[in-house]
Amino acid sequence: MTTAAQKNKSAITLKGSAEIVCDYLNYGINSILFQRGLYPPESFKSDENYGLTILMSTDNKIKEFLSTTLGWLVDRTVNKVALVITNVKTLEIMERWDFNVEYEGDVANGEQTSEKPLKQIKNEIRDVLKQIASSVAYLPLLDCLCSFDIQIYTKSDVELPAEWAEAEPANIKNAQSVKMRTFSTNIHKMETVVTYKNDD
């Protein structure tokens, strides 16, 4: 999983950093899908990482999606990954989880490495995942049939693979947003923000 990152014991390569980010996205998105009840709980199986037990969906679509994202993260063309939760009945967007990506350090260098210890990065990721898990406490209840979509906000010069299509940015009316913690590999900086429709 993070073998590429650990190959050079003291340094994390660009690809390794992208993989760390993708791992985080995988766990984070699955955690959100479970927490927000978008899939039935039976379709999840537990997995342990970052010292946390995270329930992972058996749906392969997320992995497929992440494989494409990985390449783009290495190319530094991704601005943001958004998990959009939509009410199926009214097509109203109920929630949007933004995973904002920032690129740190020498952006032009393809062989960029980071000296940040992996353990520290994992601790940071764990903190974010904990926050995601506890966000259920204040997010409004999704008492309607909802489904989700994952959108990637890229820079304009991106080759679109097959089975991918252009999407509309998801805007939420009367929204409120909560910023989660950020973590950084010193190559990629990931900021997690949840924006949700305010009921009041």
């Binding site: 679509k61 999606f65 049939l145 489904s147 994952i150 991106v158 939420i172």
Partner: protein, 731 residues
Amino acid sequence: MTENSENVNDTIMKMVNNLKSAVPKEKINNYEFGSLKRTASLSNSNESCYDDLTPIKKFKQENRLDLTYIGSPREMRRLRADLVEARNLILTLESRISHMHGLRKQMQLVFDEENQSLKRQHEYDKKTIEELENQLQTIRQREAELKKGLAEVNNKYDLLKIKTSEQVEKLEKSLEEFKEESRQIEFEENSIIPGLERKISELETMLEAAEEDAEAQKKLAAELELRLSEKKSIERDLELKEQALQNAKLYIKELEYVKESMLEFQEQAKTQAHKLTHYVELQKENEELKEENSRIKEDIRNKRSIRFKEPPRKFKAQEKKFVDLQVQEAQNALYLNEWRAVARGICESTESDAALPHLLRTTVERLQQQELNLTSEKVELESQLKSISHEAKIAKVELEKSQKLLAELKLTGEQKQALIHRMQKKLLLVSRERDSYRLQLDSYEKDLTLWVNTTSTGSSSSNQLQAQKERIENLERIVEGYRDMVTKLENDVQSAQPNIANDIVPVKAEQLSRLQDEVQQLKNENEKLRDRKDQLEIQLETYMVGHDTLQGGQVFHLANNPLAECLAQRENLVDKLEQEVDKLKRKLKNMEEGIENSKLGDVSLCPKEVHALKEQIKSHETQTQMLKDYFKSQMQEFRNVIYMLLGYKIDRTQNSLYKLRSMYAEHADDQLCFQVNKEGDLNLLENEFSATLEDMINLHLRHQKSIPVFLSAITMDLFNNKTMSKTFQIE
């Protein structure tokens, strides 16, 4: 029914055929005829009994007739035996026939009963169906009427709705306008209030600060006053000292004057002393000069005498000089005297002139010493004075400053109080206005909710209309009231504004200008803040949480994402459901039509099922019929067997009442009735026949307590009687 009866007839026919009897066909025909005629009445059955009996009698008569015939004894014996056999046969046949009759009668009875019950049920069903049809018709009529009524009511309701909706729209519009107005006003208020409140709070804080300052200043003032008093005392001291100083100064001046005079005097004295020292010389000189003069005079006289004519120039010059000297001397003497007098005055001594210079010197020294002391004292005092005056100056400056500050603070405090007072007034006005608006709003809301309620709970149309009219009137009245209120408020505002202006007028122009400046400043600040706010808002809009920013890129997602899938599924589901709904609607329509056309609407519902059910019912019926037939035949057989084996025909007439008729009974009515009592034992009931069997009852039932024995005894008795009578008859 006819089927049943035919069945019964068939069975009877079969039974009769099975008997292989020698009964002539006529009789069978008779029976058939009889059976056809027969009803369930008892009298008929009796008649039939008689019918049955008649042939036996005939036989007997024939037998009797036969007795008269005389033949050979062997033939007679054979004949008798034949006869007995025949009689037996006849008897058995008779008994069988009667049994058959009984059976048939029972069957008939059962069938009749069933028939009747079925007929009754049929009639009942018919009646109920008719009733139901009638009911249905009435219901349909009623439904049609109701539908018509409903349509009318609906029309009325629609009209009313349209009217009311128009009215409501109007009202809503007006309400909206009012709301807008109120909102604007409120907004203004709101925009004003926080500003004012902020100002007030600022002012309050300022006031507090000022008060604190004032307190501090008061303290300072007290301190300063204390200091001032100290200063005053010091000043007093200073004054005293100044007075002393002035005195001293005066004294010093005097002394200076004295000293000056003294110095002058001293100088004079010195010159005098010098002169005095020269005096002897001068005297000497003078003497010399006198001598010279005398000599010269002598010379001159000599010379004059010698040369009188030409005046000696040297002499003349000498003479002149001498005169000068003389004048000088006189003058000097005068001076000396003067000095002496002065010295004496100073020395206050009248000593001789010789001691005078010493005395003068000592006095001068003394005076000089004194002067030195005084000058040092003066310097000291001057320095002291300087320091004190400096201190006083500083204190004065401080005092002035603090006084100024105090005055200023007082002024500002007063201004602020005035301002606060004004603000409070304004706030009160504004809050009152706000309250009124709130009230207005509440009333609007109430009206709105009321209106909503009334519209939602649409009762009868007329009532509603009435209520609506009332409501509208009420609302119009309320609106009028609001308008009045608004105009009043506007007037109030207009009247209040000049008042404010008037209030301001008496206020000092300076203050006014200052306040204006302040206002200007605040306005500027406000402007700045507003600009900042706008900027921030613009910034906020860019960062607006709900809106997603593309940042000049593109957005991609998987074409077959879960949302799209979910939507497709949902669409499919909706399509399916719509189709199903259509189907069901059609079915419902068909059903409704079917029910109207035929009373058997169920058939159209699911004819297959109904058909299957019907077939099932038929099969069940046939099965039951078969079972019935089987059981009937078996029962018949069983009864026959019992009759043949035990010689009693057992009938169960009522519940647990059994009638036994012996095979050898002399009369058809000779029956024994047994009833099963509660303990399960059999009781013999008394009747005509049992009354004749007293002996046997006593012996077998009361003594031996055995019903079978009793019955066997009866059988034996009857058999013996019959055979005996026959034998007797034969004999």
